[in-house]
């Protein structure tokens, strides 16, 4: 989330109706936003649809964007987060049976064909991540997929750097416990406590 001043010029021009300026912002952030939505939804079609909505919405409201130390990318991530939340809410209302929940989703990882074991591990981990509360999912994806620092994540999530660090450790702990549960193994600590 750097080059805030570079974005400022583009945003100013885009707000005046310069489509080319907005196009440059789009090129800069489309992959990051797509990645965030893809890992939140686990579905290519939904990721494309929601990514399109993020950029259409940001284009409509770019005149209202006010940079008070909040980078443009943070604004886009917040729009994406809200749209994903709406998507989950609408999905739960429809009470559809989502195949992705029952069938491991296909991810476009560049794994060799014989790395079945690695794929199964990934599927398990991604399933666990998607069970987390939305703020923890957001944190994990921003950290590992987009490579953002705790400070940058804090700006997006409107939390302090310390709060993000604390949330991060709690999230890792949750993930570890869920993974252990799925694998049917417990840590030595858990086994000791049960005695």
């Amino acid at each position: 989330m750097n080059n805030i001043t570079d974005d400022e010029d583009l945003i100013r021009d885009a707000a005046k109706g310069d489509n080319e300026a907005f196009g440059k912002l789009y090129e800069k952030y489309v992959q990051k936003i797509y990645n965030y939505i893809y890992y939140r939804t686990g579905n290519v079609n939904e990721a494309e649809d929601l990514t399109a909505r993020v950029f259409h919405r940001s284009l409509r409201h770019i005149q209202n964007y006010d940079n008070r130390g909040v980078p443009f990318s943070a604004w886009l991530y917040r729009i994406a987060h809200n749209l994903v939340a709406n998507w989950y809410r609408d999905r739960s209302r429809k009470k559809e049976v989502i195949l992705e929940d029952h069938i491991p989703s296909q991810f476009h990882f560049d794994f060799p064909e014989n790395a079945l074991e690695i794929n199964q591990e990934n599927e398990k981990l991604l399933f666990v991540i998607r069970k987390l509360p939305s703020d923890r999912q957001q944190l994990i994806i921003l950290k590992f997929v987009d490579g953002l620092s705790n400070l940058e994540i804090g700006v997006i999530m409107r939390k302090s750097e310390g709060a993000i660090k604390s949330l991060y450790h709690r999230t890792l702990d949750s993930i570890r416990k869920e993974v252990d549960k799925m694998e049917g193994t417990g840590t030595k600590d858990q086994k000791r406590r049960k005695r």
Partner: protein, 72 residues
């Protein structure tokens, strides 16, 4: 949770959560919708119109000259 466990989970997450490339066609199509290209339209000339207007101009010119000679 000890450091070894944290590192193990972080390692797994790092392996699983890699950036992926969206479909190029999707990125291109969306860009076209968001940022319509400015087009310059070049009018195609009509040969028939050019010939007719030339002969019409010549005819009018000859007609005007004839009127001047007749009444001058």
């Amino acid at each position: 949770m000890n450091i070894a466990n944290i590192e193990k989970i972080e390692e797994k997450l790092g392996r699983s959560l890699r950036p992926i490339q969206p479909n190029n066609e999707f990125v291109y199509r969306l860009q076209k919708r968001l940022v319509p290209q400015k087009t310059i339209q070049v009018e195609k000339g009509s040969m028939r119109f050019a010939i007719v207007s030339t002969f019409l101009g010549l005819f009018i010119g000859v007609f005007i000259m004839w009127i001047f000679r007749r009444f001058a």
